[in-house]
């Protein structure tokens, strides 16, 4: 099925991006994780009319994408998931908030329009930040970093195992849907008569297999712990990245850069 295959493609694309090499890729996963969270926090902490701060905040991901050599356009495709709800929530702002902000010719720009645009920008910026984190960090390294942050090992183990199983199961489901559609041409989805058996078959089969797998793992001496990827030590470079990033973000948050740049030209 188209949707499954596309998701598989996206998965593999992320994996390929994560194993390439750049100064950002070489940073400690923990450093990247912390700065990403801080960046998102700062972005959403802006007031709802702070449209002018958004281009300044956009500079961070844009620069980092260039350093990491990842085309920015890659992450925009993912916007399709979050934009609908953001739009549904923000779309009404222009209708309800009619406080005039300023006028351009005959068009009165209202507070609602500004807050809607700000909301959209925030959505896009947060997405670029978390995309960059995953696109430059191997997943096992990310799990190891989470473990360092004292996330329970049960959860990180589960995360790693699920991550391994997902591609297998998606391939299986994709093959099954292809087979189904070849036998039922011209049908859009799964017919109601097969609703239960379709996923149920896959479910029972994979659960049985998982149990066998688990017994095999136990026989080989697995006792509930994974050995994570060898994390490089947290070097001065990583510390500098976190501190520098935090300082820059704080500066941008506290000082109205766009206003300053503008005031150089306009009085």
């Amino acid at each position: 099925m188209e949707r499954l295959d596309r998701a598989l493609g996206e998965f593999r694309q992320m994996e390929e991006l994560a194993v390439s090499d750049s100064p950002i890729h070489r940073l400690h996963p923990l450093a990247k994780f912390l700065t990403t969270v801080l960046y998102i926090l700062i972005v959403v902490s802006y007031p709802k009319y702070a449209l002018r701060a958004m281009p300044v905040m956009a500079l961070f991901p844009i620069l980092l994408y260039q350093i990491a050599r990842i085309p920015l356009s890659l992450c925009f495709y993912r916007l399709r998931y979050i934009l609908p709800l953001v739009c549904a929530v923000g779309l009404f702002n222009p209708f309800f908030d009619r406080t005039p902000a300023f006028q351009v010719g005959a068009l009165t720009v209202t507070g609602g329009m500004i807050s809607f645009l700000t909301l959209l920008c925030k959505g896009v910026l947060c997405l670029t930040a978390s995309f960059l984190l995953v696109a430059t960090t191997r997943f096992d390294a990310l799990c190891a970093a989470l473990r360092k942050l004292h996330v329970p090992s049960l959860l990180t183990n589960l995360l790693l195992l699920t991550y391994r199983y997902i591609t297998v199961l998606m391939e299986e489901a994709s093959a099954m849907t292809t087979a189904y559609h070849l036998r039922a041409p011209g049908q859009k989805g799964i017919h109601i008569s097969a609703w239960g058996s379709f996923l149920g078959q896959l479910l029972l089969r994979s659960m049985d297999r998982a149990e066998d797998l688990f017994r095999a793992m136990q026989l080989r001496g697995w006792h509930g712990h994974f050995h994570y990827v060898d994390l490089p030590s947290f070097t001065a470079r990583d510390a500098a990245y976190v501190c520098g990033g935090a300082a820059l973000l704080a500066l941008v948050r506290l000082v109205d850069i766009a206003g300053l740049v503008g005031s150089l030209l306009v009085r």
Partner: protein
Amino acid sequence: MHMADALLAPAVAATMYVCSGTAAGASVVKLRKDEATEKLPMMAVGAALVFAGQMINYTIPGTGSSGHLCGGMMLSALLGPQAGFLSMIIVLTIQCLFFADGGLLALGANIWNMAFYGCFVGYYLIWRPIMKSRLFSGMGERGAVRARIILASILGCVITLQLGAFSVVLETQLSGITELPFGAFVALMQPIHLAIGLIEGLITSAVLLFVYEARPERLMDVTPAAGEKHRFSLGTTVAILAVIAALVGGGLSLLASSHPDGLEWALFGNAEEGYAANMALDEEDFGVRSGAADAAANIQDHTAFLPDYALKGSDSPIGTTVSGLVGSLIVAGAAAGICLLGGFFRRRRR
């Protein structure tokens, strides 16, 4: 129903993280106590399956559209609420990290809205009472269980989805993101999710029925141990369902009534105040005065090419000064420039 980062104020996001984190911590503790590492592979497979299963389109008879699977309800029926909850957390985390469905900051809220209600409310208040009740016992042993599975799945999906959708509305409103009145937002979200819940419930019940036919021991609470005494009576079940229905229905009709102003005012104050309070911010003070700004004022006398130029109403509290506008345009231009340059160098490097 995945919330994006932009829809949440940091304070709300943090609160939701604490709520979901507590539930996750309690689940981990419970599973450790039960020595449930045995369940780990099953949980991983369950999570992966929900992930794959949500991408399969099920044709809804009579319509052109398609529905998807309700993960929380299915996982807690198969694995139990704690294990199901942790599996759903993993599903949501991977969706957030790899598909940008949701966001890092909003993950706590998403876990609460989709996993917590689906697993804990869905299991303890709906699945278990119904499966252990004597409902439909006139239909023979198998028929009764089948009917209970269908009822529990549909009811579970509908109610947990309604709760989730209501939480989305509440979280967004508390974050001061939307200007949409509370009542209108609720009236927009709930009916949509009622329809979605019905369809998800049907699909979930179909899958669970199949599992029941093929491997009944896989389902929770379906084959209770012989001699178990404390069964829920029909009366308890009906009472619980009635309470839930009254709470949900009463709450919704109250909120969605045509005059929600009273409640809205009580909950949020007016939009501006609520917002500033939530964010702990003073909007008037956006952009702090600094020495740098004063120094820049001296330089600007020489550089300003648009002196004494102002737009009408530019001193409004919204804070859109002309300089801000021009400044952000310039920064945006610089950002676009960096993009173009980066692309240029990337191509050359190849």
